[in-house]
Symmetry: C2
DNA sequence: CGTTCCATTGACGAAGCTCAAAAAAAGTGG
DNA sequence: CCACTTTTTTTGAGCTTCGTCAATGGAACG
């Protein structure tokens, strides 16, 4: 059975047969420990994963050892889709916490794309949404200060974590070291630390270990007003009108 | 008829019926002048576009006026797909040169996704490839110097321009102002200028107006050795094995 | 032929990086 | 549960890259 936070029918209502296919993914569950590399950049792409529980990072490595975390995945996310277009994976998937993933083979994805157009459309649109998120992140890295970036990240992640059911109304745990935060935001760990300290002393945020409490969300949002996306309603989505789009 | 540089069957061989659908896209061609805004961020999403001729940029705007160019599109590219997941477009499409685009309606895309699984799979994988490119760009912005970034961009764009048939073996025209280059690479126009001058004087590159000549491609590649993707063969792609994947 | 856009350059300032070290926390084997 | 190691956070000092502001000349364009 799919967890309550699954988002497969976010874009397209599914038939019951299609829902069964999606539920079938969860029949093979794999537990992975924190820090475990689920798939390394360069590995053969044998399929993708559905993230049932836990947090997973997706990152790109540079030859000199630096790396860029490109996405922090939460329960309900699909992992590894970009690499479907490559022979060798272009991203490393690493468990940030103990996690449960459900492997889905290339063949299963291929069959789905051929035989389940509604499900395929859902995955297609969900991938486009990920592209929008990447574009947004790109604009953060390219055009904003460290403080804006960190605040924007906290707010965005908090929203997503709430949707995924892993955050309280005003607080949540972020299983990322400051080093990793830096790799995500394009900053050094030292500068992440200084910026977080500055945030602490502003009184808008409170930290105890990995637990982050957003004391004044409105105040934080004001800080990112300049860099907020102009249009990004996350609650309403286009439907592709088509004669056969209702089950 | 599709231009020779179309890449729709890069991932999946198409049936002749599907090829006809793709060719049908080019039946409605729209000419747009340089600087014309094809679609502005926030506009209703009525469809996508196939870029038949010319260069188009895709950018994200921040409220304070700064903007981030997230992609420079070349002939043969599909434009506007990410926004299919949104009601209001999340990206601005602007013609960098005089261009010819072919509008494709939401309904046509919806029909295609429902009725032409092979074509849909091609679009799906091509979108995943775009995600990989975005991830790569993210790592450039997050973890590299201005010089590395500019050189990496020149090499990457030159490759793509050659594939699209708009570049010679060692030179091509880049219809971007230094301001736009800055918006693409997360730098100020002033710093782009200084860095380009530095490149000039290194003798690896020669510029006359928009015409750029890569004098020593191997030397340039060496400069980006540290930031080159570890795995990124652009000439071999995964096939999703499936009983029905051969026409 | 003036107006506007674009490239170029200089002087200066600031955000963020490097190096280094110490304190705190987390993991580990017995 | 304790000693020990390793990782992570925190802080300081100095430096570099890149940004800001401002001005000039040249090219493009109506």
């Amino acid at each position: 059975m799919l967890p309550p936070y699954h988002r497969l029918d976010e874009f397209v209502p599914l038939t019951s047969a299609e829902t069964r296919i999606a539920e079938g993914w969860t029949s093979s569950q794999r537990s992975v420990k924190r820090h475990h590399i689920i798939r390394r950049e360069g590995d053969q792409v044998s399929g993708v994963f559905f993230l049932l529980k836990g947090w997973v990072s997706s990152s790109v490595m540079l030859r000199d050892g630096r790396r860029q975390i490109v996405k922090v995945h939460l329960p309900g996310d699909m992992l590894g889709f970009p690499s479907l277009s490559l022979v060798h994976a272009g991203e490393t998937l690493e468990a940030l916490t103990d996690a449960i993933i459900c492997p889905i083979s290339n063949a299963a994805i291929g069959k789905l794309l051929m035989d389940s157009p509604r499900l395929a459309t859902g995955l297609f649109l969900s991938s486009q949404k990920e592209r929008v998120a990447l574009m947004q992140n790109l604009s953060w890295l390219g055009a904003t200060s460290a403080l804006e970036r960190i605040v924007a990240f906290l707010l965005d992640l908090h929203d997503r974590a709430k949707s995924a059911g892993v955050a309280m109304e005003d607080r949540f745990e972020i299983p990322l070291t400051q080093q990793q935060l830096g790799e995500l935001l394009g900053l050094t760990a030292v500068h992440v630390n200084r910026t977080l300290k500055r945030l602490d002393s502003s009184g808008l945020v409170e930290r105890q270990k990995a637990l982050v409490r957003l004391i004044d969300i409105a105040g934080l949002q004001k800080m990112t007003a300049n860099i907020a996306p102009i249009f990004a309603e996350h609650d309403a989505w286009a439907r592709l009108e088509s004669p056969s789009s209702n089950p």
